[in-house]
């Protein structure tokens, strides 16, 4: 198994944290290296050789160590805020320096290592209340670090809360200089691993929900929608409504919701539409299967319809029998144990650590709307009949943009999360992608797709590198949400037209097979792109045009602009 390497930097003993990180059974596997304890700044400023460079770093320091003035101030009220903040700035400068060498850095926020006996009443009062100072330090830390994109400040209070009444363990502190109870470290490990999975494109994207006794209390088929427990002056009803609110909030992070329920569809949809306390509406669901069929089979169908993989799915159901069935039939689906008490549902949802992503893009916030638009498109196809007529009726528009700071987050998301229409499945982190694009013979474009039924946002990415007289396609990715709408052909048109415009002789695409990208190969074969050297190398002679599909409008040929780096280099 491939391990990620972690560098741990701290002024206290992170031995327990390090051991939990290494022994935790969830992916990714991690091998830790700890900088000498107590030498935070020197460890941060120490340069790495290539062999030493870790995949990520955790810099978990104490406020007392970073700012001796804070420690003095807290104990004796001797010091001033400006000095404390200057010490925070020094620490942040060292962290920023490390960020030049390490792709990903986590910095847990500050909490005092030891409980203090300072005044509670005056703790939040300026200028020298101890809690107030710590708050100021954390805000300064956040403001300083937000300027650096590959460092993430993590909220330690979530980990401290997980340990209940005793997040600190004085015995571990005095015996081994371990400040926190092991529950704190265990929760930290779960969170950090969840973040790492997110960075590697492993975040779950779809929550499939049962209805009866999951989204509302009661069996709608038996009691009717009017008698369901949902909202109102009822503890259980309030809990169900809160659970729905939490789910809806997740849709704003790009997580899709779907329904898998054994009910009559008309009855269930009537409840969703008519119950006045229903937080989630039909428009909040990307799709559903509401019938009496096997839930595992329904999940497969719905996931296929949404063009996702089973490994993107979380299935939530109050019934242990249904959970066991799905778990056994579909091991890729995450089926969390679910509490019997509905008042624990919101917490159970919050404790799922599988949805972290490095950024939330505009496309994420409107993802559900895109799927709802897709339902309208499918309905239109049913009405119109012919695919070509349907595509023309959609009035598809593709806007091509050079990848830049404004769209790089989304481009990176596509690069690391798209599986099916993916030529080479090249995965890069932010720094690697930026470095690659900085090459003088390389170009990357985003493809923004819209039609009269909705905006799909940036859905495609194309990267090309000049090698001699050839335009080598390095990345050719398209979100499954827009597959089959002639965007694939539009991207080929852009690649070939670009090669022609800068005088290259051919365009070459090397298909790298994975378990999931067969649709990409099928498209290339279907698109008339000639294969050479076996099945996986496709070469287009740039003397021939590749026409823009009739159904697509592509208004600005930005790939032909005169000031592009690669094109300019070729002509100068």
């Amino acid at each position: 198994m491939q391990h990620l390497s972690a560098l741990l930097v701290s002024d206290f003993n992170l031995g327990n944290f390090s051991r939990y990180l290494e022994q935790d059974g969830d992916v990714p596997a991690i091998a830790c290296k700890s900088a000498p304890s107590g030498q935070v700044i020197s460890a941060l400023l120490n340069p790495f050789t290539d062999e030493q460079r870790p995949d990520f770093a955790v810099i978990w320091s104490s406020p007392e160590h970073v700012s001796p003035t804070y420690a003095r101030c807290r104990d004796n009220r001797d010091g001033d805020l400006d000095t404390i903040l200057a010490e925070v700035d020094t620490f942040c400068a060292a962290v920023t320096k490390l960020c030049l060498d390490v792709d990903l850095v986590f910095v847990p926020s500050w909490v005092p290592v030891l409980e203090t006996s300072g005044s509670f009443l005056l703790g939040m009062r300026a200028p020298l209340g101890a809690s107030r100072l710590l708050l100021e330090m954390n805000v300064r830390l956040a403001r300083n670090l937000e300027k650096t994109s590959n460092v993430y400040l993590l909220d330690v209070t979530r980990w401290m809360d997980s340990a209940g009444a005793s997040p600190r363990n004085p015995k571990l502190w005095y015996l081994a200089k371990v400040p926190f109870a092991n529950e704190v470290f265990l929760t930290a490990v779960k969170d950090i691993k969840s973040c790492l999975r997110g960075f590697r494109g492993g975040a779950r994207k779809l929550i499939l929900l049962d209805l009866d006794d999951t989204l509302w209390g009661g069996l709608v088929g038996d009691v009717g929608w009017e008698k369901l427990r949902l909202g109102g002056h009822d503890p259980a009803g309030e809990a169900y409504a809160d659970f729905q609110r939490a789910l809806r909030a997740m849709t704003h992070r790009g997580i899709l919701l779907g329904i898998i329920s054994k009910n009559e569809e008309a009855t269930a949809l009537e409840a969703i539409d008519r119950h006045p306390e229903m937080v989630l509406k039909q428009k909040d669901f990307a799709g559903w299967r509401i019938n009496r069929e096997d839930k595992a089979r329904n999940i497969i169908e719905l996931v296929h319809e949404l063009n996702l993989g089973l490994d993107a799915v979380v299935f939530i159901d109050d019934s242990p029998v249904e959970r066991a069935r799905v778990r056994e039939a579909l091991p890729e689906v995450l089926v969390p144990e679910w509490p019997a008490d509905c008042m624990l549902y919101p917490r159970a949802l919050a404790e799922l650590r599988c949805f972290e992503t490095p950024a939330v893009t505009a496309e994420d916030t409107m993802r559900t709307r895109m799927y709802v638009s897709e339902r309208s498109r499918a309905a239109l196809l049913d009405r119109i009949g012919s695919v070509d007529a349907w595509l023309k009726s959609l009035e598809i528009r593709v806007d091509v943009e050079e990848v830049d700071e404004g769209n790089a987050d989304r481009a990176l998301q596509i690069l690391n999360r798209t599986n099916q229409m993916n030529l080479a499945t090249r995965r890069l982190n932010e720094m690697e992608f930026r470095d690659w694009r900085a090459g003088r013979t390389r170009r990357s474009w985003c493809f923004r797709v819209s039609d009269r039924l909705g905006d799909s946002g940036i859905a495609g990415l194309l990267s090309i590198e000049h090698v001699d007289e050839t335009a080598e396609i390095r990345d050719w990715l398209l979100s499954c949400r827009v597959m089959g709408r002639k965007v694939e052909e539009t991207m080929l048109h852009v690649a070939i037209d670009y090669a022609r415009s800068v005088g290259l002789r051919e365009v070459r695409a090397e298909y790298e097979p994975t378990a999931k990208n067969a649709p990409c190969l099928a498209f290339l074969q279907r698109a008339g792109f000639p294969a050479r050297d076996g099945e996986h190398t496709f070469v287009w002679n740039a003397e021939r045009e590749y026409p823009l599909p009739e159904a697509v409008a592509c208004p600005k040929a930005v790939w032909r602009t005169a000031d592009v780096r690669a094109g300019r280099d070729r002509h100068t």
Binding site: Y20, Q23, L175
Partner: protein, 108 residues
Amino acid sequence: MDLRERVATVIYRAIDEVNSQLPPSDRLEKTRDTILFGREGGLDSLSLVNLIVSVEGLVEKDFGRAVPLSIAEMLFEPDSPFSSVGALGEYIVLLLEGRGVKSQSEVR
């Protein structure tokens, strides 16, 4: 279940907690003869501290009495009462029975 068995159960639970931090090859067996610390092997000092602190917490929870193991002077001495699971159990039983252990030498 007599007192010795109850104490052994508590120690084994603490061993489970410590084992969750260790690679399979370093994990402790749950037997009376298992060496915890000393010249013949066993745990490193951080793991021993984790074990002792965990045992203290579990004893207090299960027996409703605090047994101050971690202040013992001989914590890291090779012939301390923490040298094996059996010795640790006997030491805790003495403390729980209130037989007035004043120093480590009484249980050695």
